[in-house]
């Protein structure tokens, strides 16, 4: 689901671009807060290291938790556009960041759905 589809799902299709941007940013921030909530300082630090591209931490976590990660469709697709990506964002960093969150949040889809539901119920506040 891309951003426009998310906006449509939330019922904000007719909102101004500015309001839509606020909704998307709020959704992102609230989603981030929910999935990082309740984690220990050590876990948060580990995630921080992963998103900062600490290769040692990334490789260690992947080898311990997802040794076959290079065989996943997610990693392969993330790696596929590497050459065309002007920023050359390493696929293993993005993959590890997502896999890490998924592992720490088995009920992640439900959490995101709840946030979307709440935003949809309070759309007027974004106008």
């Amino acid at each position: 689901m891309n951003e426009q589809e998310t906006i449509e799902e939330l019922g904000a299709k007719d909102f101004s671009a500015e309001a839509q941007q606020r909704i998307l940013n709020d959704l992102s921030m609230r989603a981030g807060e929910v999935v990082l909530d309740g984690l220990s300082d050590e876990e948060v630090e580990e995630y921080e290291q992963i998103i900062n591209g600490n290769q040692e931490v990334i490789e260690h976590w992947l080898s311990e938790n997802d040794p076959a990660y290079q065989d996943t469709i997610a990693y392969q697709q993330l790696a596929e556009g590497y050459d065309e990506d002007p920023e050359h964002v390493p696929a293993d960093k993005v993959y590890a960041s997502m896999a890490w969150l998924q592992k720490k949040n088995p009920d992640l889809p439900e959490k995101i759905a709840a946030i979307k539901k709440d935003i949809a119920a309070n759309l007027d506040t974004y106008k």
């Binding site: 989603a31 290079q70 556009g81």
Partner: protein
Amino acid sequence: MSETLLPSGVVSTEQDEKAQLDADYAKLRASLDAEYVAAKAKHEKDVAFGKYDTFTGPLNRGEYSHDSYHAQRPSGGIVRDGDYYKNTETGKFATAEEYAEQNGPVDEQPLDYYDKVNGITEQPVSETPQYDAMEVGELRAEAARAETLGDRAASEEVRKTLAERYELMSIPELAREAALAEIADNAAGVEDVKTAMRHTVMEYVTNPNNGVDMSDETYDEMVANFDGLIDLAVKQQRRLHGEAVATPVVTEVTAEAEADEEPAQDAPETLEAVSQETEAAGEPKYAEGDEVFMKIGDDGKGRSEVFIQGEPSLEEGTWKYTVVNAAGDVFPLSEEELVLSDETLEAGNEAPEAESEPDETPKKHRYNGEPVDLIGESFMGENGHLYQLVQYADGSQSNVLQSDIMDPEAEKKESRFAKAKKWWKDNSLKQKLSYTYAWMGAQWTIKGHRVGEATINHGITDEMSPEETEARRKKNRRTLIAGRAAIGIAGLAGIGLLVTEISHTLSHAGDAMMTGGHGGHTETGMSNGGGHHETATPDTSAVEAAPAPLEAQSGEGGIALLQRLGVEHPTDAWNAHAQEWLAKYPNDLRGGADGSVWLSHSGLLPDGLRDEINALK
């Protein structure tokens, strides 16, 4: 009046002293006045050159100020002092080389400093893109990127460059560009293309050499035609991108009914002839906008996706269609040259049931592409392979390798992975963007935010210390990245896939390994082709171990892989087969714009690829 005896012996009176004092005073005053004038002139010069200028502009809340920069700046080390360098710890002079060595590359950009301070590491500062040197596809990607980042200046620059390219394109190319902009919800891009298109049409109708009617009506008519072409191209692109498009219902209008629409235009004899011809040919199977496949290759077994353009015409008892392929080429094909899908339903076979109710009957297992029923439980042959008795549609039965049977769940899984692949194609760049400096930097000034509302500064107040501000910003960045990743994970979950799920090609290979591996069955003497109509018993006399799974080593390229496996002339072999393998194993190989192909990952490779490589030995 007192008298004072001076050293010179001259008697100094009080009056003399006063005169002396006045003289000293006048001299001192003149000196001070001169000093004042000089100092004043210097001050005015300093003021004029901005020495005492200060700026207290509206900084973003929590943004670095000069003071905060100084506060965090290391106090030790070598600093520059005018034309000299000094070691602040020892107080001794230092060399320029020592200073440069301490400070790193001399072309270090301010953004590098930001990266170090803010903890965003390994994010190379992107150079200003050279739009003029880019292909149209690259420019399109740059335009989308600039739009995503809210970078209005870059967006304008890319649009300008694209507009120049549009002026050089043909009308079909422009239609395709407009369609791509349309499906990307890029209204400005669509308008740019249409502008170029109108210019092209105008040049065409005003060129006397073209011999066209130079009236406004002609121009309007051509523009309207091209708008229709854009609509068609949009439909095509939506299909190519896997988006839902309302499939035009196959017309129920018979040739007789069509004839009824314009009875005055045709003589009764002609109508009858058309009616008879139509009756013989039947109704056209495809309608405008339908996605079909053209047969290719000498044996006609190859498939290439095309779209029906316009209404079909009946010629000599055969329906003829105008089709357009993914490259935008338009050409005619007869109904016999088209098939409905890239699998089994071919034109001339039973009519498709696209308009009927969804098939509620459970899907059957398939063996060699044919639907089969499983009879009883699978069993293990003496060669250690698992076999399954299956029954074909005509009632005949055969024992086949269980690993060669495609079950309905596997087909569903295949579809799920196809969806996942599309999802990643649409979203991988956006997921990656969250981690880039450029995107995060854009959160400071992104349009739609008032000062202080930028996401990265969420929760920062004026009362916070610089340390607290930094900690908060770091947390915001972490939260924002996690949030966007979480939304992505939820999106994947929506199509029933985990981030950590193994791709289907490799999963299938893994299944094969678990069941003893396929590929060895043809060597068991068991019939799996024309003999399937007879019940066969597995020949268990020749037990052969399945070939070892093929694994690419880390950093190993395709040619190196062939060389390691003992293929003669590995470079020639790779060049000869790489494109074919790329088409078959797109999850395991990658192709470049220059036609080169390489392995997309190390580790396990598909058994099919292993077998094809082994066949080259």
